[in-house]
């Protein structure tokens, strides 16, 4: 109806179409009440019939009748995001979103007012080199194969600088100091801030990690992300399971400093975030409307102001300065008892950073975040087109360490894409055998531990709007109270236990049980010749 304008779209132009079945609908209103973007509404329709008598005995007329239906809005601001909450709440399976078979035309109009599309979530690309890697070295009579079910495993990794024995001895003798090293579980909950995540989600993850440590003896660690850490957690014994992150916004760090004299435990480590795989070179921005009293208290800011995290740290003008200065300051804060390591976006310059770190004995590790990492908010273009895949990057870094003879000294932690298609243990094992000492995981936990509906198919992706229908990334109690922290904790525990079982299923047939097969690349194969060449693993067909 009405006139055309360039961004006037039909439902067919949209990436998601809402299919509604008039015969099944009971007009209960639940779908329109739950839709996070108000993509659907009740519509009034007029049906016209022209009853004509057989034989044309009378002049025919028109009969009009009014009926109601669920209509899909087509303006870009209300385009369906495919989250499927409508079908979740529909008592009668009368409504569900379907990905349009047409090319998405919304893409060309999701920039109203000159503001390019921003979103949360993931790259929306199902391709994964990690998924294609197979474990081809199976112990068949050549050496004792282990039984994942009954064999005892010690699946631990080391976070910290592992100096050669004589250097440790010298260091201890001459300096009275040796680098702190933590023995931890090789799957780490990656940094997701209090703010990006809802309070219930954040607490659920923390509680689950505490449970894994204290009830199941799994030394799982969790990074806070950049958004501070609740004062109670800082003063609790659970802090030892926590990796405190510091990033360019420095949010919440005054609270951490205030808590320092009262800490019962040292944190596991300090992660200095220089970059994020999902949006390398781009900063963060927590919009003012998400900065409520709670977030403000934890971040140490007044409520209702936007909080920018710049793309780069201020006051650091060279790689030497960037790395050395930050590591020094943060090591000093805990009396050099806590490992401190940088986290960078995967980049073709990773090895330059690594070589710098190799010369700094206070640097505990290097975390590399690949392009398939997730984010709460980023520009579309940054998510889709910026960044480096993790597989080749972590491999390059590891081989570089091999070249300088320090592959056992500086642990590499890989993130960004592990489990993107649901194959978490296989992807993590592949990363470990490519050279990672451990793997950071975030998005997979959103899906598995909290029911995030995001997929690699541009589904939902509205974390940035604070309207997460599952309450994972929202600060609105109406949404985040849908999520019970205990459920999140319970599912996190499930995930780690099943991950552990699967990892054993991969490692046992290779005869590995007491040490992680870090860099055991002879176990890996891939059916792509060039990928095999690039990763220096077997080409198998």
């Amino acid at each position: 109806m009405g006139t055309l304008h360039p961004s006037a779209l039909s439902p067919r132009d949209l990436p998601w179409r809402v299919c509604w079945d008039r015969d099944r609908c009971t007009l209960c209103g639940q779908c329109t009440a739950v839709c996070p973007v108000r993509a659907i509404e009740l519509g009034v329709h007029r049906r016209r019939e022209v009853p004509v008598l057989m034989g044309l005995g009378e002049r025919p007329g028109n009969v009009y009748r009014v009926y109601y239906g669920i209509d899909q809005k087509t303006d870009p601001a209300h385009a369906c995001v495919g989250c499927g909450m409508c079908s979740f709440v529909c008592p009668n399976s009368a409504i569900f979103p379907v990905r349009s078979e047409e090319t998405d035309k919304l893409k060309f109009h999701a920039n109203q007012g000159g503001e390019p599309r921003r979103r949360g979530g993931r790259r929306n690309d199902t391709a994964s080199v990690l998924d294609r890697i197979k474990f081809v070295r199976i112990s068949m009579l050549t050496d004792p194969a282990l039984d994942a079910g009954r064999h005892e495993f010690e699946l631990r990794t080391l976070l910290g600088r592992i100096l050669p024995p004589e250097e440790i001895l010298n260091s201890a003798k001459e300096d009275g100091w040796a680098p702190p090293v933590r023995e931890i579980y090789p799957l780490i909950v990656g940094g997701m801030s209090f703010g990006a995540l809802s309070p219930n989600m954040w607490e659920g993850l923390q509680m689950g990690v505490a449970y894994l440590n204290e009830e199941l003896g799994m030394p799982v660690r969790i990074s806070t992300g950049e958004g501070g850490c609740p004062p109670r957690l800082l003063r609790s014994r659970f802090l030892k399971y926590v990796i405190l992150q510091i990033a360019s916004g420095y949010f919440g760090w005054d609270e951490i400093i205030h808590a320092l004299p009262e800490m019962k435990e040292d944190p596991c480590a300090i992660e200095i975030k220089y970059g994020q795989g999902a949006k390398p070179g781009d900063g963060g921005l927590l919009m003012w409307h998400k900065v409520n009293g709670l977030i403000a208290a934890i971040r140490g800011v007044p409520p209702g102001v936007s909080l920018p995290s710049p793309p780069t740290h201020q006051t650091k003008y060279s790689i030497e300065e960037s790395v050395a200065k930050m590591i020094q300051s943060l090591s000093m804060a805990w009396g050099f008892r806590v490992p401190v390591y940088p986290k960078i976006s995967a980049t073709s310059t990773t090895t330059a950073v690594l070589n710098n770190i190799a010369r700094n004995r206070y640097a505990a590790a290097l975390a590399i975040d690949g392009e398939d990492g997730g984010t709460g908010a980023a520009y579309n273009v940054s998510m889709n087109h910026m960044g480096h895949p993790i597989a080749a990057n972590v491999r390059d870094a590891y081989l570089n360490l091999v070249k300088i003879g320090k592959q056992n000294e500086i642990p590499l932690f890989a993130g960004g894409g592990a489990g993107k298609n649901g194959n978490l243990a296989a992807n993590a094992a592949a990363l470990i055998m490519l050279g990672a000492s451990g793997v950071q995981v975030g998005k997979y936990l959103m899906q598995a531990a909290a029911g995030c509906v995001g997929s690699e198919g541009d589904r939902c992706n509205i974390c940035n709007l604070g309207r997460c229908p599952k309450g994972i990334t929202s600060q609105d109690p109406r949404l985040y109270r849908r999520l019970d922290p205990e459920d999140v904790a319970g599912r996190l525990v499930d995930v780690f236990l099943s991950f552990d079982a699967e990892l054993k299923k991969i490692l046992a047939p290779m005869g590995r049980s007491t040490s992680l097969p870090i860099g055991m690349s002879d176990a890996l194969g891939i059916d792509d010749f060039h990928a095999a060449e690039r990763l220096q693993i077997r080409y198998v067909v």
Binding site: T32, A33, G149, N200, Y211, L294, P477, R481, V493
Partner: protein, 777 residues
């Protein structure tokens, strides 16, 4: 065959070891040959004493001396009895299917592996992985392993049946009699043991009480075991003290499923909150309830809430009317049966509702009627306009005594005066003309409206308003005098001076205003061919009049596409007028109009209708004017704060524009006189997209009466009281309430409402609006 005969088979012959295959053949041959007892001097041979399947019901005894190899008695038969007089190697009784095997010493790894029936008695210790993968077939008795000493690591892995008895006597496995990590993957069977054991797979087995039946079984079996190994002396030690024994039994599948983990909820209260404090991680920062809410919530937890916004916005018709007449509200009154009230309402806004709304106005309200969006005919307001002839006069407010001079008795001036009178002031209208009415009275052709309607409306105004004719000179001096004598002065002199064409012969043309005035007075004639320069609505009026006066060929020319529209244009076209554009006139002469291209457009009478301008020669210098028009701000105030200007003297426009401006001026002056703030900010216009036209019959073209008109009105922004919202609400959250002072409202029960917005979607009039619920934090 002599049953007591015994054969001796040597494992070493003439200094060389007999191959396992050959030894096996010899044993099989001896047994088949009827020897019930075979003595073997073993030298590491494999599988001695196994597979003696074809012996019949009689027992076969195999005595093994020397150094037997692995898998003694493997795949053993129920009638086979094997005695090893010394130590034994790995896998004794492997896949044993019934043989009884006695070892009078220690045995190494894998003892009883995969045993399904039979018994194995060990007089010493065994190595790792004993009793693994054992079975229990319901058709036979379960297998048994008896060990006098202790067992090595990984005992009973994947044990699926049978009984193991570990006596723990004289073992070198002190302190861990079942070895490291026993029972992993064990799914069936029992293990009796004596002595200290550090751990076992709690995921698979549990320690259980030894019942009377178990104890009797153990006691009776113990006798057989000790007799077999020749250690009956230990019977008292091993059978005397039940409390020294313990029993491990495989968990039932359902016992495994329940797990031993404590629940998260328990962890939260016992561990998490005990360390962090009540409320957990952020209990110190907020006391907000963070407990789970349903996905579909009501009351404060729903995300959206509808609001009944009756008459919050101005409907499109009213917004379009320059006079601001509340058209929709009038139809609403009629639907409620209040026809007279609807009619009366007009006089609040205009002194000429019948003349203007009913005849002269292009009815901007109808042009903007929401019904047009669906190609439906707009509601015909002229019906209501004409009915307003019988409107009852409003009662004026209490007199203020304030005097306002209104210069000009046209629609603008009379509107100002009418409004000021209603507000209790004393306006005086001045005009040079002997009669008030301005262009309506003087220039608009009588064919456009019935004169008696206007006369009645004019009469109604003049009953209330003083009118004075200005005689003689009226210049700046006179204007200032007039101004001095009044509290405020409003200039509404209109545009009375026709614009002329500065082309040769221009003076030969008749200005349209003069033409229309004279035509209305009946003192002009026209030739057969009339050319009208300027094809706007005034030109069209001139054309219509020319036709009435007898012209046969009427041509309107314009330099651009004619701006005329509506009834004027239609009447001119009906009169057969021809429109020519774009053409421009170069000169006028006796034959007609010479066009720019040199052609002559023949014309006996030439009329110029290119607009009029006001006569403002009386205007003092301190009142600004531009291009011959008075400059006034949005509130119609001139640069002199006591002087206002409205109508065509400010900007040429419609009659209804002039009437609307008159109302606005009166509001401003009234506010100044009474010392109150100006008129309240006008409400925002209604978004017509919120109105649902689907409820109306698109086939209906016209209404038969005023009642049908009112039913056709979509009532934009004003509740029709139709009850659709009550009916559509899936939670019955909406109800209608009568207001004691009159009227009604629709209310919401927040505790029922889920914020689906169905009310907003279904409301025919766009009254319900769905908003985000109030922020919670």
């Amino acid at each position: 065959m002599n049953r007591h005969e015994k054969v001796v088979i040597q494992g070493m012959e003439e200094g060389s070891r007999v191959e396992s295959r050959v030894l096996e053949e010899r044993i099989q041959k001896a047994v088949a040959g009827g020897y019930p007892r075979v003595e073997v001097q073993a030298y590491g041979q494999h599988g001695i004493g196994g597979r003696l399947w074809n012996t019949g019901p009689e027992p076969v005894l195999i005595d093994i001396h020397g150094h037997p190899g692995q898998r003694i008695g493997s795949m053993g038969s129920p009638h086979t009895f094997i005695e090893v007089h010394g130590h034994a190697s790995d896998d004794v009784g492997w896949l044993n299917a019934g043989a009884t095997i006695v070892v009078h010493g220690d045995a190494t790894n894998g003892i009883a592996n995969a045993m399904a029936q039979g018994r194995i008695y060990i007089a010493g210790d065994i190595g790792a992985r004993g009793m693994t993968m054992t079975k229990s077939n319901p058709r036979f008795s379960p297998p048994e392993l008896w060990v006098l000493g202790g067992v090595g690591d990984s005992f009973a892995e994947f044990m699926a049946g049978g009984v193991a008895v570990v006596c723990g006597l004289g073992s070198h496995y002190r302190g861990n009699i079942l070895g490291h990590n026993p029972c992993v993957g064990m799914v069936g069977g029992r293990i009796f043991f004596r002595g200290t054991q550090k751990s076992y797979s709690e995921a698979d087995v549990r320690m259980t009480r030894i019942g009377d039946e178990d104890w009797q079984w153990l006691q009776s079996g113990m006798k057989d075991f000790l007799r077999a190994i020749g250690r009956e002396d230990l019977l008292d030690v091993l059978s005397g003290d039940r409390s020294a024994w313990r029993l491990l039994a495989a968990l039932e599948p359902h016992e495994k499923d329940c797990g031993k983990r404590i629940s998260i909820s328990r962890f939260r209260s016992r561990v998490w909150e005990r360390e962090l404090g009540t409320g957990g991680l952020i209990g110190d920062l907020t006391d907000m309830d963070r407990g789970q809410v349903p996905v579909i919530a009501t009351g404060p937890m729903r995300r959206f809430a509808p609001i009944w916004e009756n008459h919050k916005h101005v409907p499109p018709c009213q917004a379009a009317c320059p006079a601001g007449i509340p058209v929709q509200r009038r139809w609403e009154l009629i639907r409620r049966g209040l026809v007279q009230e609807a009619v009366d309402l007009a006089l609040q806004y205009t002194p000429f509702p019948a003349t203007v709304c009913g005849y002269l106005c292009p009815n901007l309200c109808m042009q903007s009627c929401t019904r047009n969006l669906d190609h439906m005919t707009p509601v015909d307001v002229t019906v209501l306009g004409r009915a307003s002839l019988d409107a009852r006069e409003p009662r004026p407010c209490a007199s203020t005594g304030a005097k306002v001079a209104v210069l000009g008795a046209g629609p603008a001036g009379l509107s100002v005066a009418w409004q000021l009178w209603m507000k209790g002031h004393e306006p005086v209208v001045y005009d040079r003309s002997p009669e008030p009415g301005g262009k309506i009275a003087e220039a608009i052709p009588g064919t456009r409206f019935p004169d008696e309607v206007f006369r009645r409306e004019l009469g109604r105004v003049l009953e209330k308003i003083s009118f004075r004719r200005l005689m003689g000179e009226f210049g700046q001096k006179e204007f200032l005098a007039l101004k001095e004598g009044h509290d405020f002065t409003v200039i509404a002199v209109g545009a009375g001076i026709p614009c002329t064409l500065g082309i040769p012969g221009g003076e030969m043309a008749v200005p349209a205003l003069d033409f229309l005035r004279r035509s209305k007075r009946g003192d002009i004639t026209v030739g057969g061919r009339v050319v009208i320069i300027g094809a706007g609505n005034v030109g069209c009026d001139a054309a219509t009049e020319a036709s009435r006066l007898g012209a046969e060929e009427i041509t309107l020319i314009d330099v651009r596409e004619p701006a005329s529209f509506g009834r004027e244009r239609a009447a001119a076209e009906r009169a057969g007028a021809r429109f020519l554009w774009p053409v421009s006139a170069r000169a006028i002469n006796a034959t007609g109009v010479e066009l720019a291209d040199g052609k002559i457009l023949p014309g006996d009478t030439v009329v110029v209708a290119i607009g009029d301008r006001p006569d403002i020669s009386f205007l003092p210098e301190d009142i600004d004017s531009r291009h011959g028009f008075i400059v006034a701000d949005d509130g119609c105030r001139t640069s002199d704060p006591k002087v206002y200007a409205v109508g065509d003297s400010v900007k040429p426009g419609l009659i209804t524009d002039a009437i609307g401006a008159g109302r606005r001026v009166s509001q401003s002056i009234d506010a100044l006189i009474k010392g109150v703030h100006g008129p309240p900010e006008a409400p925002s216009p209604m978004d017509a997209g919120r109105v649902r036209l689907e409820y109306y019959d698109p086939g209906r073209r016209a209404a038969e009466d005023i009642g049908q008109c009112s039913e056709m009105c979509a009532s934009c922004g004003g509740c029709r009281d139709c009850g659709v919202c009550e009916a559509i609400c899936p939670r019955q959250a909406i109800f209608r309430k009568d207001i004691p002072e009159g009227g009604f409202e629709y209310c919401l029960e927040d505790d029922r409402c889920i914020g689906c917005g169905f009310c907003a979607g279904a409301c025919p009039c766009g009254i319900w609006e769905l908003r985000e619920n109030e922020p919670l934090e």
